[in-house]
């Protein structure tokens, strides 16, 4: 422990004197989080153009359910998923999967929708033909199509989807009303004529044509009911702050890999590592000391970014960062993400032969992982192929876990999958590094 503590203090001292390194670790993510949040404030409100996956539960299984599904598919902007792993999705599963962020929204068509729509359509049209000025309010009820949204979905995207759905059901309603109208109108006209003319020939009719109340289209048959999928019903609206602060904090955390890799390569090249390996100290102790030092630096860096999200960005006109209700989960995610980043640093520092190699591969791989991980653009707004790749990005694991707590009201249990993935990444990186180190040391360091 004493020797490990010596390494921690030495690393911190070295880092504190590395001005360029500190700039990369603190100023860069701080600047990024401010700039990107402000830049994306409007962009994220207006986006929602790309195809998105919708969980579709048709409990109606009749005309209206089939019609909504077909028309959503025809729009081309949505991919309709009705079964997962060969099993039809039910409402509970849909809610759970949307809550977990696997899908951005779920559409539930209740059982009996078609019958209800037909009954109500007939009432509405009858009311119109009777020139009744009061809205139809008979036994036919207005049916709710429930839409569950992942709370991380941005407003613009949400509006676009709801708008599409409204158009679809308006089309269905209109078709149904016209069907009913075409059924009832001839009978209605004939009845009125008979009433007005008795036995006279039609040519002798001089009175008014029986009227129809033309605003029957306003009497809705279906309604889109938007509901949050989050566990806590108190839904937090996603903002660019909620998206960007954890995103760029993670980006900054992963940049710790560069100074760490650089330090390892330098130790190898200037034979400091050789010297350490000949001293009565275990290599594990040296590495643990190094990792602890970088974890402490990253925690300070993360604290700075949260401070900016909480106190600086609101001064610039953005909403304040909401951090959920489980600080322990936030801490666990943070430490797991930092360990994953140090794992990457160790891997880079061990496998790269020169600092130039590490400084080329490191930043590029981090930027790619960040792009895939939804740091720059939310994962749900990416093309399908990129969404499929994004699940392999450690930054996506970290970001998704933060969104689980910050926006979806999740807790430690909710984020356990992503945390396990981050810790596994750390362990695998260290294991690969150890194997590389072992193989290399057989041939001289």
């Amino acid at each position: 422990m004493y020797k490990t503590a010596a390494t921690v203090s030495k690393e911190l001292l070295l880092l504190s004197r590395d001005r360029a390194g500190l700039l990369v670790l603190f100023a860069m993510p701080a600047l990024l989080v401010i700039v990107m949040t402000l830049v994306q404030e409007n962009v994220l409100q207006t986006m929602g153009e790309s195809s998105t996956r919708i969980l579709f539960v048709d409990r109606d299984r009749q005309e209206v359910g089939r019609s909504v599904k077909e028309k959503l598919m025809e729009s081309g902007a949505m991919e309709i998923i009705t079964a997962i792993e060969g099993k039809d999705v039910d409402e509970t599963t849909a809610l759970e999967r949307v809550r977990r962020g696997d899908f951005q929204l779920g559409v539930i068509i209740p059982a009996g929708t078609t019958a209800a729509v037909k009954t109500r359509a007939r009432e509405v049209v009858r009311g119109s033909l009777a020139m009744d000025q009061t809205p139809a309010a008979g036994g036919g009820r207005q049916c709710d199509i429930t839409v569950y949204f992942d709370p991380t979905v941005f407003g613009g995207f949400r509006s676009a989807v709801l708008g599409s759905l409204e158009l679809v059901i308006l089309g269905i309603e209109m078709k149904e009303k016209m069907n009913v109208l075409s059924d009832l109108l001839p009978e209605h006209i004939a009845g009125n004529l008979r009433k007005a003319m008795g036995s006279l020939p039609p040519e002798s009719f001089t009175g008014d044509i029986p009227g129809i109340r033309l605003d029957f289209s306003r009497d809705r048959l279906l309604r889109v009911a938007e509901r949050p999928a989050s566990q806590s019903y108190l839904e937090k609206k996603p903002t660019s702050v909620q998206q960007n602060v954890p995103a760029w904090a993670l980006f900054g955390i992963f940049f710790i890999a560069l100074p760490m890799a650089g330090a390892l390569i330098k130790e190898r090249h200037d034979e400091t590592l050789a010297r350490l390996l000949t001293l009565p100290v275990s290599f594990l102790s040296v590495m643990v000391g190094k990792i602890i030092a970088y974890v402490l630096v990253c925690l300070a860096q993360f604290g700075l970014i949260l401070f900016i999200g909480k106190y600086i960005l609101p001064l610039l006109g953005t909403p304040m960062l909401e951090m959920g209700s489980d600080p322990a989960a936030v801490m666990i995610i943070t430490i797991s993400a930092i360990l994953a980043a140090t794992g990457l640093g160790i891997l880079l520092g061990t496998t790269a032969r020169t600092y130039e190699q590490a400084s080329m591969v490191g930043p590029i791989s981090i930027v790619i992982a960040a792009a895939l991980g939804g740091i720059m653009v939310p994962v749900y707004a990416m093309p399908k192929v990129m969404r499929n790749i994004s699940v392999y990005s450690p930054l996506e694991w970290g970001h998704d876990a933060f969104l689980d707590v910050f926006v979806r009201g999740g807790d430690i249990r909710t984020v356990s999958g992503n945390v396990s993935a981050l810790l596994s990444f750390f362990l695998v990186s260290v294991l690969i590094s150890w194997i590389c180190f072992f193989l290399r040391s057989r041939n001289g360091i």
Binding site: K3, R275, P280, V281, S441
Partner: protein, 262 residues
């Protein structure tokens, strides 16, 4: 305070062998020629033993194996009676290494470097403070101890590099070209300090390309070529080998040839 006062004498009985190397062979993966091909030598306590040889002769490979950094393909190494290949951890407590490069943290001061390596060796409290101070004085750096290594001249860096090697008072110290690239004054000072260490009982294994330095400092010398020793003895005995040589350099060229080694 005299620098030597803080250095404990190394109590390996005089004449007892501190280092015994037997049939050491090292073949690097993918190499067609062995880096070491049957290296044999013995170094008694308190001796300065010079390992000379052209580039690629196997000196650094030998030092790496002896200092536990590298595993040999075959052979045995005994340090202070401990099998260094079976128990590298135990050997680390009695050896020191002064690598060819400046193996220091350039962003730290000399004192901070010494304190860090001292702590890693398990030194604490007053013992650590005293040992750090003694090493700084021995290296002639006590007045510049709080400057960062980056601000040091080449000679000062070499002296600081040596100071760290002496920190844990090793019984066997490996020095891999410790005077390369420095001025005559710094070199002279380092040689004086090494002689002082020897007088305190520390055994030194010394590699260098400077023949005059080896002749001045080493009690015995082994000239290596192609992975094994081609001549071994005291500098005087080696020079006087028939037909007689003008100096160690003359003998070296005669034994290893004048062809360039890459």
């Amino acid at each position: 305070m005299q620098p030597t006062d803080s250095f404990n004498e190394n109590h390996t009985p005089s004449g007892e062998n501190v280092l015994v190397v037997r049939d050491l062979i090292k073949i690097y993966k993918g190499a067609t020629v062995p880096a070491l091909s049957g290296l044999n030598f013995t170094v008694p306590a308190g001796e300065i033993f010079g390992l000379l040889g052209p580039n690629g002769a196997g000196k650094t490979t030998a030092i790496s194996i002896l200092s536990t950094l590298l595993r040999p393909t075959r052979g045995s190494v005994s340090i202070c009676g401990i099998d260094a290949l079976k128990h590298p951890g135990r050997v680390k407590g009695v050896i020191g290494l002064v690598p060819q490069n400046i193996a220091l943290y350039a962003g730290l001061t000399a004192r901070e470097n010494l304190r860090y390596f001292g702590k890693v060796c398990g030194l604490k409290g007053k013992i650590l403070d005293d040992r750090v101070q003694a090493c700084l004085e021995l290296a002639g750096l006590e007045n510049r101890a709080d400057q960062r290594i980056t601000a040091y001249s080449g000679g000062m860096k070499r002296r600081a590099n040596l100071a760290v090697g002496m920190l844990n008072n090793p019984r066997l110290l490996f020095l891999d070209e410790p005077t390369v690239g420095i001025d005559a004054q710094s070199r002279n000072m380092i040689l004086e300090k090494l002689a002082l260490l020897k007088n305190n009982g520390t055994t030194l294994i010394y590699t260098t390309h400077y023949m005059d330095e080896a002749e001045q400092l080493c009690e015995r010398i082994a000239i290596m070529d192609e992975g094994h020793i081609v001549a071994e003895g005291t500098p005087g005995a080696l020079i006087n080998r028939p037909p007689g040589y003008a100096g160690l350099g003359d003998l070296f060229l005669a034994l290893t040839g004048k062809d360039l080694r890459d």
